[in-house]
Every structure is written in C-alpha cells, then in structure tokens.
Amino acid sequence: MAGKFEGVDFYDIDTLLTEEQRMVRDTIRDWVEDRVMPLIGDAYIERRFPKELVPEMGELGVLGANLPEEYGCAGLDNIAYGIIMQELERGDSGIRSFASVQGALVMYPIFAFGSEAQKRTWLPKLASGEAIGCFGLTEPDYGSNPAGMITRAEKTADGWRLNGAKMWITNGSQADVAVVWAQTGEQGDTRSIRGFVVPTDTPGFTARDQKGKMSLLASDTSELVFQDVELPEDAMLPESTGGLKHPLMCLTQARYGIAWGVVGSAMACFDEARSYSKERVMFDGPIGGKQIQQVRLADMLTKITQAQLVAFRLGQMKDAGTMTPFQVSLAKRANVDMACDIAREARRLLGANGILVEYHSMRHMANLESVYTYEGTHDIHSLVLGQTITGIAAY
C-alpha cells in the first residue's frame, strides 16, 4: 500500500497559491488522511455514506466554503474552494459529492435566489452540518434534458402543492431539506421552472435509497417522491425567476468544483501507481523500471499537470468574475475524462492488487463513472462546446 499521500505538483503550481490557499490545502489534506482514509474502504464495501464526518466537515468550514461569513460560511476565494474539492475527492468522490451538493447545489441557490429569511434559516445550519441538503432536478424521464420536467408546483390558496418525482438524488435519504426544481406552468415552458425549499419531514415527501449501484457506493443516492406536498407561500426561492437558467447556474458552481475535485482522485491514483511501481518486483526488477509502466506513469503525470492548469486558470477566471459556463463545461469534460483514464490505468498497473479495496484506484475508477455522467454527461458537455464552437445546437 502507498505511504503518506504526497500530492502531485510537477509544474510547481504551489508557488501560484497564496499562503492561505496552501494552508487550506494542508488542513484538508491532513483531515482526509486522518479521518477519511482509515474508514473509506469499509464504508465503500458496506455501501454506506460516512455521515459521522459531516459535523467535522462543518466545523472545518468545508460546506459552502466560498459563501460569505455573515451566513456562517468561511468566505474563501474560489481557488481555495477548488482545492478543498480536490483534497476531498483525493479521499473519495462520494465525500466530495456530499460537499458539492451541500455547498454548490443547496447553499448556493438559497444564497443566490433565496429571501433573507430563507438564508438566515438555512445557511448557518447547512454550513455547520447540523442540516443536510439535497438538490432535485433530474427526473426518471428527464435526465440530460431537464427542460421537460414533470414535477409540478401548483399554486394553492395559501401556498404551493408539489407533485412528482426526482431520481438519482445525492444525499436524498439523509437530507433535512431539499431544493426541488418544479414546473409552475405548462410542461416544457422552461421559463416557469422555479426552485422550492422543501423540509423533508413535510407530509407527502418520501425518499427511497437507490439500490444496486456499482459506483459511488460511499454516497447516498435516492429517489424522491412528492405526493400532494403542501408548502407555504414562502417555500419558493423568490429570486429563482430565471426559469431553467437558475438550476443550471447551480450546476455551473458544482461543475466548477468537480473540475478541481477529479484532479484529486487522479492524484490519488497516480500516487498509488507511482509507489507501487517502485515496490513491486517482477522479472527481477521493479515494474517501474519497465518501459511500458514508465509510459503509463508519464502519461498520467502529463494529464494531471494539464488538468491542474485548467482548474487553476478556471479558478482565476471565476475569482475575476469572467468565467463562462462554457469554460466550465470544457474543464468538467476534460478533467473528468482525464481522471477516468488515470484511475483505470493505475488500476491496471497494480495488477491483481488493483482490484482490492485496500488499494484506492479501483474505487476511484468506479466512482468516476458517476462523475462522468452526473452534472451533465461527458456527451452533453461535448454538445455544449460544439454549439459554442459552431453556433449550431445539436442536442
């Protein structure tokens, strides 16, 4: 097994970081080493999200870390936020997914589209981990194309009545609150889609664990069903008037974190492959001394370095306020694809040991298939970029 995780920094990106960003990196890296690594293998095999880590994440300030301090958040810049995602995903994509959903898909929409009262009620609790949130956009029949969503919020005399179902919802069964996107007009009218803050103990709300997963096993993925869920007037996010554009803005936040996060899983796999290649002796020498494995390692290092630079530059643009969703699509697509490749190659380099849970590469490899699919599949981001390049939509 690999020794202490050393990180990967061939192009000395460290010197581009501020002292504060490095301190954030060291803190989260140490925490992952001390708290996540000892339990993640078992949690994965037991198909269990290690919920006991949530209060610690809250105390560290990981949840919604780039949101302002006045709501109990850490108020970090976006590069520091990206680094947190990288370090969490170095541990496991499921842990990072938890933090992404909580921060970018639950806290962000409440922050960006919520009333002051909604912000005061929910953000401090979500930041501390006292409350867990989930984000419901995808439906059984509307995945890549959420525009057609069926889930409806119907206006009643004193509020809203919610009916429908959401599928593949991270944190769904553990959540105290769900941010649910629902149609308030005719199906297909994307301008009438609105966000609702739904406490999960509201009558008519049920969540069911998704059985039979082969990926992201240390994460809760659930189906949500809403049957005549009666909500007060102020359950709606009042500023979520941009229709489908607003949930997509949330996804841009989360995808930004993914572009950084997967660099972490790739680094973990490379680190494991590198140390294994030096220790494993076959045909009278370490396999790291064989040309084929050296090509493998050289490719890994090259791709990780490219992905790090993409993530870093994206972070600079996000902090400068110039980042576009298309640039995020490129980074999500390229970096996740890179991480999938590296995890698979690392697993192969490890031979039979590579299929064991004691090593990390296969866990990352399996996890990354979910990451490849969620937050806009790889293909959908190809189409986003294709449209950006040609001006022709090909969905």
Binding site: V24, T27, G61, V62, G75, A80
Partner: protein
C-alpha cells in the same frame, strides 16, 4: 488567563533531508516547512487553557526570518490571538535564542509561557529551560498535561515506569510533549480570521551565537541483512544471533 507560546519553524518531519554543499547545513530548496510538532502541542495546550479559564489571550512568539510569518499564521489560524516575529538569525546556540526571546518576554504579565519540549529539527531541548532561568521562573519540562488552579500549575509527566505530578508556582515556563494535546485542525474560518489578527514584526535583540555546526552528514547506508538459513533448522542460530549479536532478546 494569558498564555505565551514560543514556536519554531522547522522542516516538515516527513521531508527527506539533503545536505547542502557546504556540508554543514540543510538544503532547503523544495523543502516544506511547518511549525515544530511539539510546539503545536504547546499551542493546543494554551488554547485549551484559555478556553478552560474562559478569558485571556494566547500570544505566539518566534525568532526567525520573514518566512516564519507563515508558521505564526498557522498558529493564529488554530486560534491564537496575536503573534510577534522577532526577525533575526536562528543559530545553533540555544542561549542566544533564549536571550533574544527574553528581551521580548521580559515584563510580560502572562503567568504561563509554553514551549514544545524540543524543536523537531535540532533536538537541543535548551531554549525553554534557559528562558525560565533567565526570567527567574519555575520550569517544568516534558509536560504531557497540566491544570491551573489559583497560582499553581499542576503538571503531569510520564517518567520511566510511571507518571509524575509536579506542582509549580506561577509564573512558570512549561515545555510540552506528546500526550493530551493533539493539535486541532486550523479551521477554514480560522485561516480567514488569521489574516486579520495582529502579527507584529520587530528586529530581534542582537545576540551572538557561541556554538557552530561544523559538519552534517547523513546516517551511513544500512548494511545488507543476513540470511542465517531456511526452515526450522535455522531457528537455533537465529535465536543465538538475536541474543548475542543483536542483543534483541
């Protein structure tokens, strides 16, 4: 209760040490520096002391170059309230360091001054006791935990085959070792808050070091192991060697 903690910036204990071209210093390029782990215990101890008392300030003091600011900010991010960097050369001479610190510490009203039991780099264990001596304070070294009540600090130490309790009258100097004070993580809010906490920088009182490191060399390569045989037949010889040569059993 106010507590002062003296901390030192040292190479990460995970770092593979390379020796510089002069043969008497460490090559520092590419080396990561951290707060000496024993000093981290001391910072943790000070923070808990403040939390238990419900009031007071934790102030950090270090002697070093500008890069030691980073070490101080790490302690501020953990929760210390203020810090001062005495800019000066850290020599091998513990007494010179102690005098430079005392020039700053003299006249402080803090009943407790804490140190790590030793710096993780030079392992000299001198500075804490020397500061105590120069300031005429009681000193307890190698403390694993302590409690303050009134003007007495009750210190617990682990000694050969048991534990020892020593009470000292305040003001005192304690040097802290691994035990009850696992350092907390610097929270992200703490890291942000650290930027706004006072970190003073002043020239250290000039002190002449009277010790000099004359050479530094890596440990010799480990000799190859010895295979005494295979199977049960080899056991008596193995036992004999373990007993007579290795003195291991």
């Amino acid at each position: 209760m106010n507590v002062i903690v003296c901390v030192k910036r040292v190479p990460d204990t995970e770092t593979r040490i390379r020796i510089g071209e002069d043969g008497r210093s460490m090559e520092v390029t590419g080396v990561k520096f951290i707060m000496s782990p024993y000093d981290e215990y001391a910072v943790e101890a000070a923070l808990r002391c403040k939390e238990a008392a419900g009031d007071g300030d934790v102030r950090l003091v270090t002697l070093g170059q500008t890069d030691s600011q980073e070490t101080l900010r790490q302690g501020l991010a953990m929760g210390a309230d203020s810090a001062v960097l005495l800019v000066g050369d850290v020599t091998a001479d513990g007494l010179a360091t102690a005098k430079a610190l005392v020039a700053e510490l003299e006249g402080t009203d803090a009943p407790l001054i804490l140190f790590g039991v030793k710096a993780a780099d030079d392992d000299q264990q001198q500075v804490g006791p020397m500061v105590a001596t120069l300031m005429g304070r009681a000193c307890v070294t190698g403390v694993v935990s302590f409690e303050v009540s009134g003007d007495v600090v009750r210190c617990h130490k682990e000694v050969e085959g048991g534990s020892e309790v020593i009470e000292a009258t305040l003001p005192a100097v304690l040097t802290i070792t691994k035990g009850a004070y696992d350092p907390r993580y610097a929270s992200l809010k703490g890291i942000m808050a650290a930027k706004r906490k006072p970190l003073d920088e002043k020239a250290a009182a000039a002190m002449e070091g009277r010790l000099e490191v004359v050479s530094l060399s890596p440990p010799p390569d480990r000799a190859a192991g010895k295979i005494v045989g295979t199977g049960p037949d080899a056991v008596p010889e193995l036992v004999r060697l373990l007993r007579e040569e290795a003195n291991a059993i």
